[in-house]
Amino acid sequence: MSQSYNRGTVEDFGRWREFTAGMWAWIFHKFTGWVLVGYLFTHIAVLSTAINVDPAAAQSSADIYTNTIAGLESLLVVRFLEVGLLAVAVFHILNGIRLLMVDLGVGLESQDKSFYASLVLTGAIVVASVPTFLGGKLV
């Protein structure tokens, strides 16, 4: 259908003005999923370059692992990214539970409410986490 005919500017995606809850949930779920995949690879890359632990150095907390983590934590940007990562992960988990319910056929008529609930809950958890992530002293 869409491939066979081009209506030019009127087929523009901007015509879709009424995105509903289900669609937003889908978009956010895809987006947060890709962010988490990206984080996973970054996580592996960072840790795999920081695992040559020398027991003696670890004793005096001057080994490469501790240095790497401390170095990252000293950057304000990293602190903010951590808050963002938590937000993304929490939303993905909550919406994943919502999708599980949808797959089981439970409460499909309130799928929009459960999406809003997962948004609100994500917001609350992220706000509550801010002191933990941003509160520590920047080295």
Binding site: E18, G22, E109
Partner: protein
């Protein structure tokens, strides 16, 4: 609208001039009478403007591949007088009958039964005859259904949609028929409730047009066709062999598993069919069908 209001004003001015020579009491009564008259006249004028003069601004998609100079898609503006209870379809019919007889759109029953006039109104798939203009923001933008080939103006090619509908073999095929030809084939009340909503489909194609997956995958059966399959697969009178055949069709790669539960179809369905729920039920049904350990 403007002429009526002017008339109104001249009338009240004349009446104001009259009671000047009367006693204070007369003047007071006259003023009161006049105030009532004014209020009455204002009410009538308001009602008249509501009835005759309130207008709706339509922006209608136009395209005609057969006429040179109309091949470029464009929007035409129509100003249509509004009356209470007017639908999008009423406004289109008015515009066609009074302004431009070449304006093309499908319509038939005008009461949300035939499913001819699914349109893309103000950024959403709606049934023209079922959408009140009072529910819409001005100007009302009317376009043909997205993701379908436009034949002319608001008419889209429904062939692909009908193909998908027929692909699920939407007919009733029981294993055993009652011995007496005239006997009814009965269904329990519970089973009727299960399939009730799915029987409401009017083949308007709004769901298919709203579905992102159907837009990107031409082979996807689409919500309406899967709903049709649900209607028969969930019917207890359906024959076992036909049910297996139908499940084979819908559990293919481009069947139920393409649905990503965006709920767009459920949102736009003019008959309020819980399409996503039916698709999910068929997903479970096909899993159960293939996971038999006994």
């Amino acid at each position: 609208m403007s002429t009526q209001i002017e008339q109104q004003e001249t009338e009240t001015e004349e009446q104001e001039a009259e009671p000047e020579v009367e006693s204070p009491g007369d003047r007071r009564r006259a003023a009161k009478r006049q105030r009532l008259q004014e209020e009455e006249a204002q009410r009538v004028a308001e009602e008249e403007t509501l009835d005759d003069e309130e207008t709706v601004h339509l922006k209608v998609f136009r395209y005609d591949p057969e006429v040179e100079g109309k091949q470029e898609p464009r929007f035409d503006d129509f100003t249509v007088p509004y009356h209470k209870g007017m639908t999008v379809l009423d406004a289109l019919i008015y515009a066609r009958d009074r302004y431009d007889s070449s304006l093309t759109f499908r319509h038939s029953c005008r009461q949300a039964v035939c499913g001819s006039d699914a349109l893309f109104v103000n950024g959403r798939q709606r049934l023209g005859c079922k959408t009140q203009l009072s529910d819409l923001e001005d100007p009302v933008r009317i376009e043909p259904l997205p993701h379908q080939e436009v034949v002319k103006d608001l008419v889209v090619d429904m062939e692909h949609f009908y193909d998908q509908m027929e692909a699920v073999e939407p007919f009733f095929d029981p294993d055993e028929l009652p011995e007496d030809d005239l006997e009814e084939q009965r269904q329990t009340r519970e089973n009727r409730e299960t399939v009730k909503m799915s029987t409401r489909c009017i083949w308007c194609g709004a769901c298919m047009s709203s579905c992102n997956i159907a837009a990107g995958d031409n082979e996807y059966l689409g919500p309406a066709a899967i709903n049709k399959a649900y209607r028969f697969a969930m019917d207890e009178r359906e024959g076992e062999q036909r049910k297996q055949e139908r499940l084979r069709i819908i559990e293919q790669e481009h069947g139920v598993w393409r649905c990503q539960t965006q709920f767009s179809c459920t949102e736009v369905c003019p008959k309020d069919i819980p399409l996503t729920e039916h698709i999910q039920a068929l997903k479970r049904e096909s899993v159960k069908n293939n996971l038999k350990f006994w």
